[in-house]
């Protein structure tokens, strides 16, 4: 069934022309020479004062990258990227040594203020009363790591986190301060040889967040990283590594925006998650990179490798993503369910508009016994966009009792867009139970009948039921993000096709 007018209007409101974060911050920056070579890799490593082993690791990745070719299997179409025409490192030029937040370039602070990212923890710490209606006084604290182009500019609440034993810092600092942890885990989930973009990232990543939650600790606040691409012709290559030790829990949020530009910019991130026995990581993303203008000019190429490894028994990794930005998205947050009874979850809402191309989904790799996974994916395509769900669910021979449930629905608004579903389902032992469905019939006739009987029109009834379902996905997001996400999508999914 076609989308109702209300839905169409709502989508229009978040159409690419309405991009609100497209401003540019004019600051001086410190860049690596254009192009990519061993010297670039050495330059980045030197900028970060990295130990020799890290440089070695990068160089090995770089040499391997030279032998690799770009993947072409995704349903995305873009001109060939000239990897020599990019800056691989760009950092705001430091005016002097920074000792506190107040000394950060005010332009950068202003940028984050404009984006609504609270870098100033002062107000909250000193117990300043929020103005009525402005902020919820019960609002939970969020520690933020702000990454501006290639470097982290500020990380808040570090002291309070330290009290709990949680390490939350830019990964460049972690390499220097906690080399044993970084060496042990970096590349253990996404090896340097993993894929073209992950290998590129391994060679040139400049910053990102590092989180370590010690055994038995429930991280006292939400952790968050906010990525901002500012500089022209700059690729952003961040690397995030989160380790939840035995019995710990952490919730991590990620947000991203970029200025409006006519040329495309490359973003190739790697995220690695590790959970040990009984640990849980909840990773949420609101991705709102600049999607390009209504003619399809400009926008971010978002080629991201995200993978979680449920290494311990009874561990859990949950991915939630709301994807509204980027000209091209190529992203498959995955779970390796290695530990017995481990659980992986993937909740996704992907909205594409204008000329955006989304090829996203997940992989659930069942290796341990009695592992379970759930995939809920909602794709909405409007304008001239292409929206593809691509997912893999596989159970290995020894993964007895593996269970998966997958539901992916898509909605098309207009006849110039496309919605595609490409699931791969591989059962290699008989006790695995896999269910996959992509269909509108998910909405029960009984429920519809109930609503219609009470005076709702067919469309209102469908809207009501499906909205309730989307909210389930939204509720997976931590509250602060759910609000932002809801602003991005207050869209009903009626008329979805599989």
């Amino acid at each position: 069934m076609p989308a109702v007018q209300e839905t169409v209007d709502r989508v229009k409101r978040i159409d690419v022309d309405q991009y609100r974060y497209g401003f540019e911050t004019l600051i001086e920056s410190d860049k690596a020479p254009k192009g990519l070579s061993e010297d670039t890799v050495k330059f980045i490593s030197a900028k970060k004062n990295e130990p020799a082993w890290m440089l070695q690791w990068r160089l090995e990745a770089y040499r391997r990258w030279l032998t690799m070719t770009e993947p072409t299997w995704a349903r995305v179409d873009y001109p060939k990227i000239d990897f020599q025409d990019l800056y691989y490192y760009s950092a705001p030029k430091p005016k002097k040594t920074i000792n506190s937040l107040d000394e950060i370039d005010p332009e950068i602070l202003k940028t984050y203020e404009k984006l609504g990212i609270p870098l100033r923890e002062v107000a909250m710490l000193e117990g300043v009363e929020p103005k009525p209606g402005e902020q919820d006084p019960n609002r939970r604290k969020i520690a933020v790591d702000a990454v501006f182009d290639s470097v982290s500019v500020a990380t808040t609440f570090q002291a309070e986190l330290k009290k709990a034993g949680v390490i939350f810092m830019p990964i460049s600092e972690a390499i220097r301060e906690h080399p044993e942890l970084v060496q042990k885990y970096l590349g253990s989930v996404v090896p340097t040889s993993d894929n073209f973009y992950a290998t590129l990232n391994s060679a040139v990543f400049s910053d990102g967040s590092f989180v370590y939650v010690p055994p038995g600790v429930r991280c006292p606040m939400e952790l968050s990283t906010y990525f901002r691409i500012n500089e022209r012709n700059t690729g952003q290559f961040e690397r995030t590594l989160i380790i939840a030790d035995k019995g710990s829990y952490v919730s991590y949020l990620e947000g991203c925006t970029a200025p409006q530009r006519d040329e495309n910019q490359l973003h190739a991130a790697v995220v690695e998650l590790v959970t040990h026995d009984d640990a849980e990581i909840k990773y949420s993303t609101v991705q709102n990179w600049y999607p390009g203008n209504s003619e399809g000019k400009g926008g971010i190429y978002n080629f991201v490798t995200k993978r979680g490894d449920c290494r311990g028994n009874n561990s859990k990794i949950s991915w939630t993503q709301v994807e509204t930005g980027s000209a091209i998205t190529w992203k498959y947050p995955s779970c390796i369910l290695r530990g017995d009874n481990s659980r992986g979850e993937f909740y996704s809402i992907a909205i594409s508009n204008g000329h955006q191309q989304v090829d996203s989904g997940t992989k659930m790799i069942h290796l341990g016994k009695n592992t379970s996974s759930r995939i809920i994916s909602k794709g909405i395509a409007a304008g001239k966009s292409q929206n593809t769900y691509r997912g893999l669910v596989t159970a290995h021979r020894k993964a007895t009792g593996a269970r998966n449930f997958t539901a992916c629905d898509s909605l098309l608004i207009g006849d110039k867009c496309g919605a595609h579903t490409v699931p791969y389902i591989e059962a290699k032992n008989s006790s695995a139970t896999f269910e996959h469905e992509a269909t509108t019939s998910k909405i029960s006739e009984d429920v519809l009948f109930y609503c219609i009987q009470r005076g709702l029109s067919q469309e209102e009834a469908v809207g009501l039921v499906v909205n309730g379902f989307v909210k389930d996905v939204l509720q997976q997001l931590p509250m602060e993000f759910a609000v932002e996400a809801q602003k991005l999508i207050s869209i009903s999914l009626e008329g979805s096709v599989g």
Binding site: M1, P2, A3, W73, R397, S410, L412, I413, G414, D415, K416, C417, G418, A419, H420, T421, V422, P423, Y424, I425, E426, A427, K428, N429, S430, S431, A432, T433, F434, E435, H436, E437, A438, T439, T440, S441, G495, V497, G498
Partner: protein, 434 residues
């Protein structure tokens, strides 16, 4: 591919496979040129392997390795064996067309009875003047190989309005061991015609052979066609079949495939709905055991609005069998009001069996209702327990549940007699289970 390279007269290199067969391949010089081109396509691509997305789960280089040399034309002894096989395979009341080792066997066929209602020709005859049948719009290597090597097939034309009084049964019989048979057939169903076409694949004493078959079907407006394929090739044989089906407006086309044989099999069906108001129903059951590998790959292309397509597939996997199902529903930009549903279920009876399902949707129109579902799993323990508690032995309880499982696909066959025939095949397969 294990092929020796030989030079031909004009200096171009072709492999032994084609060079040694060339003299026996029917067709005018123009046809031979088409064949040569097709073979070059095949040689360039080689046997499909897992790096080719459409063949990801059926790596012929690993599973088959090499293409066997062309089977010799059947001799009297072979035809005698084939005649015996025809007797066991013939479906009551059906009119037979028999192909033995890739050659049409007129003596075993009911050409006369058929000729009163439809036009029957062989591919061999057609190729004497026309190369059109060897041209198929595909870049698939096995289809190109088929075009290069096809020795015979049937070319049927059912005139507008013809109501066939009896089903047509095309029987492919293999009598030559360790050889390949390449066949290609065409069936044209006229407007408003009604027909039932059955295809059977069996062995008559042969083993370790390879079958590469292609069928091109076009169905005119308002026609009503049932197409049943029963593949029961020898347990160590290879069967690769490609179907190209184009249907017009207001057509009812009902397809069923039953796979019970062959070590490696692949049925790839390309269906195009080219006229509005048509209903396409494609269904099938794969019963696989030992180390059998059964692949069903479908592409259903909704090119026009207002069509309905339904696919119901079941795979039952015993021992170390592998099943592959790839089904893609394409809805073109103008194909509004399309209603497409696909349901695939795999039942794993053994811990070493593997099921690969890949149902795909590719949708470019906004006012459609499309969906697919896929499941994989073992027999329900509680249902088994229920039956056993009522005194049924384990094997019988399993058989009952398996029958119900495959029944959902088999019941899509409209004709009562044929449906019973297919149920019989499933029952015998279940009885053979240890």
């Amino acid at each position: 591919m294990n092929v020796a390279v030989a030079k031909t007269g004009n200096g171009r290199a072709v492999s032994d496979l084609f060079a040694s067969a060339e003299g026996r391949l029917p067709g005018s010089p123009a046809v031979i040129a088409v064949r040569r081109e097709a073979f070059e396509t095949y040689e360039r691509l080689g046997l499909p392997h897992r790096r080719i997305e459409e063949w990801k789960y059926t790596d012929l280089r690993a599973l088959v390795g090499e293409v066997l040399p062309l089977a010799a034309a059947p001799d009297a002894a072979a035809l005698k064996r084939a005649a015996d096989a025809v007797k066991t395979q013939a479906i009551d009341g059906a009119r037979k067309l028999v192909l033995v080792d890739g050659a049409f066997a007129a003596d075993l066929s009911d050409v006369k009875a058929l000729a009163s209602e439809i036009s029957v020709k062989t591919l061999r005859e057609t190729l004497a003047t026309d190369a059109g049948l060897l041209k198929t719009p595909s870049t698939d290597a096995v289809i190109a190989l088929n075009a290069a090597m096809a020795t015979d097939g049937v070319v049927l034309s059912i005139a507008d309005g013809t109501q066939l009084s009896a089903p047509i049964q095309i029987i492919h019989i293999a009598t030559a061991a360790s050889a390949s048979a390449f066949t290609r057939s065409q069936i044209v169903v006229g407007k408003g015609a009604r027909a039932t076409i059955i295809e059977s694949f069996v062995a008559a004493g042969a083993n370790a052979y390879q079958v590469n078959d292609a069928v091109i079907i076009s169905v005119g407006d308002n026609a009503d066609v049932a197409h049943i394929r029963l593949m029961d090739d020898a347990p160590d044989a290879v069967n690769i079949t490609s179907q190209f089906v184009t249907v017009g407006a207001n057509v009812k086309f009902n397809v069923f495939n039953m796979t019970t044989g062959a070590a490696v099999s692949r049925l790839q069906g390309f269906f195009t709905l080219a006229g509005e108001g048509s209903e396409l129903s494609v269904n099938g059951v794969n019963l696989l055991q030992k180390t059998e590998h059964g692949d069903t790959t479908l592409v259903v292309d909704h090119a026009v609005p207002n069509c309905v397509s339904r696919e119901v597939f079941r795979a039952v996997l015993d021992d170390r069998a592998h099943s592959v199902f790839q089904g893609r529903i394409i809805v073109r930009p103008d194909a509004q009001k399309t209603d497409g549903k696909m349901m695939i279920r795999a039942l794993l009876l053994s811990d070493e069996a593997e099921a690969y399902n890949k149902p795909e949707l590719e949708i470019f129109a906004d006012d459609v209702s499309c969906g697919h579902g896929a499941t994989a799993g073992a027999l329900d323990d509680s249902l088994l327990f229920y039956l056993k508690a009522r005194g049924l032995p384990e094997k019988q309880a399993q058989a009952l549940l398996i029958q119900a499982f495959v029944g959902e696909a088999i019941e899509q066959i409209a004709d009562d007699g044929l449906r019973e025939h297919v149920i019989g095949i499933a029952e015998r397969w279940l009885e053979r289970r240890p």
